[in-house]
């Protein structure tokens, strides 16, 4: 009751201008991490290495945008890694086994991903299967389908230009795949910030019943969110195929956990209603820089796993503490 009288005297801060939301902590962490690595290694703070980091986060970054939407509405999507593999295999099969033009094969692969997302969305909204369960089911189904397409075999031998999408740095710094990631980031950011559809996701995540009574079509929005997440996973699969110059059905195992970690490090709450693309980008960068930095430092692979786990726990705990105090 006191707070009513006092109000909050501070005007909206600069951070909200960039809609960082709860991500100021992770941003500080990221900057500290970069500062530390710049001093600790000769090779971290070089244009070449930073461009490598951008390369290395493309797949995670694209998937994390979709996951941000899902987590914003209070959902979870465990199927992203499997859908990534399914999309890859559909593309590889259509282009190399059936001889279809690669661009067309890519479009069809994205449609296949969308179909998988639509199925999970419908399971959640029409049959009231919890998101955790329906995406868990899709994770298994999509992985199985990806394996069935070639009976578990990899496919290689794509046209030369395809691999080059992930290699040639236009203007000295921008590969097509990195550019694609930046476009996805920008589109996601604008969507959440400046469109009614994006604002509605916050309302749904904040309280579904409030959103429904406010006239928001919660079911349709939910289905569209899962479709978007699936399509972006499919797109990430195409990017990964370009990066590896091959496709294999075992790709993307456990990527869902990396993706969720990135979104959560970025300040989103798993109960929905808070989070944003700016935070997610920071989360993706934290994971990317950390992996890269630990390799550069020559930290042993087993120690790396420990460090990454500790960082995830610290990032989220710090955010929760900050909220309690604030």
């Amino acid at each position: 009751m006191i707070s009513v009288a006092r109000g909050r005297t501070s005007s909206p801060s600069v951070s909200s201008l960039f809609s960082l939301g709860g991500a100021t902590g992770p941003l500080i962490g990221l900057l500290l991490l970069c500062a530390f690595l710049s001093f600790a290694t000769d090779s971290f703070f070089t244009a070449r290495n930073l461009l490598n980091v951008l390369d290395q986060i493309t797949v995670l970054g694209i998937m994390a945008v979709g996951m941000t939407f899902v987590i914003l509405i209070g959902g979870i999507d465990l199927s992203v890694g499997s859908i990534l593999a399914l999309s890859m295999m559909v593309m590889g099969y259509l282009s190399n086994e059936l001889g279809m033009a690669l661009p067309l094969a890519i479009v069809i692969a994205l449609f296949a991903s969308a179909a998988a997302g639509a199925v999970t969305g419908l399971l959640i909204t029409e049959f009231s299967v919890p998101a955790f369960i329906s995406t868990l089911a899709m994770m298994s189904v999509a992985r199985g389908l990806a394996n069935m397409i070639t009976d578990g075999q990899q496919i290689v031998g794509f046209p030369g230009w395809f691999n080059l999408l992930a290699i040639i740095r236009h203007g000295g710094f921008l590969t097509v795949t990195v550019g694609l990631m930046l476009i996805v980031f920008a589109a996601g950011w604008i969507f959440l910030r400046n469109t009614t559809g994006g604002r509605c996701l916050y309302a749904i995540g904040g309280n579904q019943e409030v959103a429904r009574l406010a006239g928001i079509n919660v079911r349709l929005s939910t289905i569209l969110v899962y479709i978007t997440s699936a399509v972006l996973s499919g797109l990430a699969g195409i990017v990964l195929a370009a990066r590896l110059d091959s496709v294999q059905p075992s790709s993307g195992v456990s990527y869902e956990l990396d993706t969720i970690a990135a979104v959560v490090i970025g300040g989103a709450s798993l109960s929905g209603g808070t989070g944003g693309i700016a935070g997610t980008v920071i989360g993706v960068l934290v994971i990317g820089v950390l992996r890269n930095g630990l390799n550069l430092l020559g930290v042993s692979p087993f120690t790396q796993q420990v460090v990454i786990g500790v960082v995830i726990a610290l990032a989220v705990a710090a955010e929760v503490l900050k909220k309690k105090k604030g």
Binding site: M1, I2, S3, V4, A5, R6, G7, R8, S11, P12, R193, N194, T195, T196, G197, R199, C200, Y202, A203, G206, N207, E209, V210, A211, R212, L213, A214, G215, I216, N217, G273, T274
Partner: protein, 496 residues
């Protein structure tokens, strides 16, 4: 009666400050055995701070307390409970997936040989329910119980703690008249047993009925103490708000005959009500009364598309507007201000601006393109228009109940509706905020908007409505004109 009993709890010069801000200014208070003391005051007057200090949730900055003759300074709620204190919160804190018995005994389950003795637990809980006149099996799950019944389970829980002093914070906010009467019987019994009770409520009529003494607080200080409960309502209110009131309810003008809104043979797909028909005239305030469980809330939810309909139709200006979703209803200009503002009206951890924006996306962003600036200025205009005390960037959960309710109203009324449905518009909010909500209702009606008001507060329904629809067990029991409506005629229909 006070002179023959010794005080069980005394507060002397209790003060509380947060930094330079003093919010309690030296409170003296005595509670005697077998006495019901009503603690009154507008939101922000300091009632909750006093009850939190007694319960050990907050520690006072200075002052002392004695409990049954000994010095008393609880460090935490556990110590207060162990001393024999029971607090029943305004918000329900039951675990929905456990049974009533498990909830009553949560954390102190009766055990035999290391295992929970379910039989003993259920038997004891059942006794307690029967004492409260609650006809429910103790092994039923709490999930799905009506709000009123959940409230009674909360009270049963406190009673099993053998409390010597009970603090009831708005215990009847969710109760209908019949349940309230049951609760009062129980309070009378406790009083006879020598239990002291601090009773916090905004319903002045029931305080007159139940209280032995009334303590009125304003701005963190005790402003007046009445040595009897039966004080005229106007006197109490004047002491609470610190000024003389002209009237409790504003004057509602009579309305014409032209029908704008019509509900015809409406039947719930959830089996909550059947065959309800009524017409609302332009600018009319149409009340809906009934006991808890009569189907009032379900009826208005169905009218506004929130719950499904199995038969019947709804017309606005002669056009069929039977809704299939809340969105459709809003587009037709029919809005529901829902019963529970915290669960249905607001996203508590989002800002006021955003909350207002969610229901007004069309107005804020006609081309589906929104900017923070557009939402903020739209919200600011409506915050001003409806007298919300607060700023757009504040989170909804930082506000008092009255202000939250005004935000919810602002959120819906900003859509420029033709029909406004208010479900329990003044539940749990203070007198000052109430009268401004009544003023808003008058304003709407003057503009020719149909206003439908559902309320458990009979005095309120009678005070604001041009006509009253009374529901009983899912049926339409009758419609009363203002001239024929009084508490007797309404209760007769409601219990028919």
């Amino acid at each position: 009666m006070a002179e023959v009993k010794s005080p069980i709890l005394s507060l002397r010069q209790i003060k509380k400050s947060y930094g330079p801000l003093q919010i309690l200014h030296g409170i003296d208070l005595d509670i005697h055995e077998g006495e019901v003391v009503a603690l009154l005051g507008e939101n922000g007057a300091g009632k909750s701070t006093v009850s939190n200090i007694i319960c050990g949730t907050i520690r006072p900055s200075s002052g002392s307390m004695t409990w049954r003759g000994a010095e008393y300074a609880p460090a935490n709620p556990r110590e207060a409970i162990d001393s024999g204190l029971g607090l029943i919160h305004q918000e329900l804190r039951l675990l929905p997936h456990l049974t009533i018995a498990e909830n009553v005994f949560v954390g102190r389950w009766p055990k035999s040989r290391g295992q929970i003795d379910r039989k003993a637990m259920e038997r004891k809980a059942q006794e307690q329910l029967e004492r409260l006149g609650l006809d429910l099996p103790a092994n039923r799950k709490v999930e799905g119980l009506s709000t009123a019944n959940q409230q009674l389970v909360e009270i049963a829980k406190a009673l099993t703690l053998n409390a010597r002093l009970l603090i009831l914070d708005e215990p009847t906010a969710a109760l209908g008249d019949a349940e309230t009467e049951l609760l009062f019987k129980q309070i009378d019994r406790l009083r006879a047993d020598g239990v002291g009770i601090i009773y916090i409520s905004h319903r002045l009529e029931e305080i007159r009925r139940i209280a032995d003494r009334i303590v009125v607080m304003r701005d963190g200080a005790k402003v007046q103490e009445f040595d009897k409960g039966d004080v005229p309502v106007r006197t109490i209110v004047e002491s609470m708000v610190g000024r003389e009131l002209g009237r409790m309810f504003p004057h509602f003008p009579p309305v014409g005959d032209d029908v704008t809104f019509e509900v015809k043979d409406l039947t719930s797909a959830l089996d909550a009500f059947h065959d309800v028909s009524f017409k609302v005239h332009k600018g009319e305030v149409f009340g809906i009364a009934g006991l808890v469980g009569a189907g009032r809330t379900e009826l208005v939810r169905a009218i506004t598309g929130a719950d499904p309909i199995s038969a019947g139709s709804i017309y606005l200006d002669g056009k069929d507007v039977t809704p299939r979703s809340p969105g459709q209803s809003i587009r037709n200009g029919i809005v529901l201000v829902p019963e529970d503002r915290k669960l249905q009206g607001l996203v508590l951890e989002h800002s006021i601006s955003e909350n207002i924006g969610y229901a007004n996306m069309k107005a804020v962003a006609p081309k589906k393109w929104v900017s923070k600036k557009a939402i903020d200025s739209f919200a600011a205009a409506n915050i001003h228009r409806f007298g919300v005390k607060g700023q757009g960037h504040q989170n909804a959960d930082e506000m008092s109940g009255g202000n939250q309710q005004k935000v919810v109203l602002a959120k819906w009324l900003a859509t420029d509706p033709k029909v406004v449905v208010l479900d329990e518009p003044t539940r749990g909010i203070d007198v000052g905020a109430r009268s401004s909500i009544y003023d808003i209702i008058v304003e709407l009606s003057a503009k020719g908007i149909c206003v439908i008001v559902v309320s458990s507060d009979l005095e309120e329904v009678l005070g604001v409505s041009n006509r009253i629809l009374v529901m009983a067990e899912g049926r339409q029991a009758g419609i009363l004109d203002r001239a024929n409506a009084n508490d007797v005629s309404v209760m007769e229909l409601a219990t028919s």
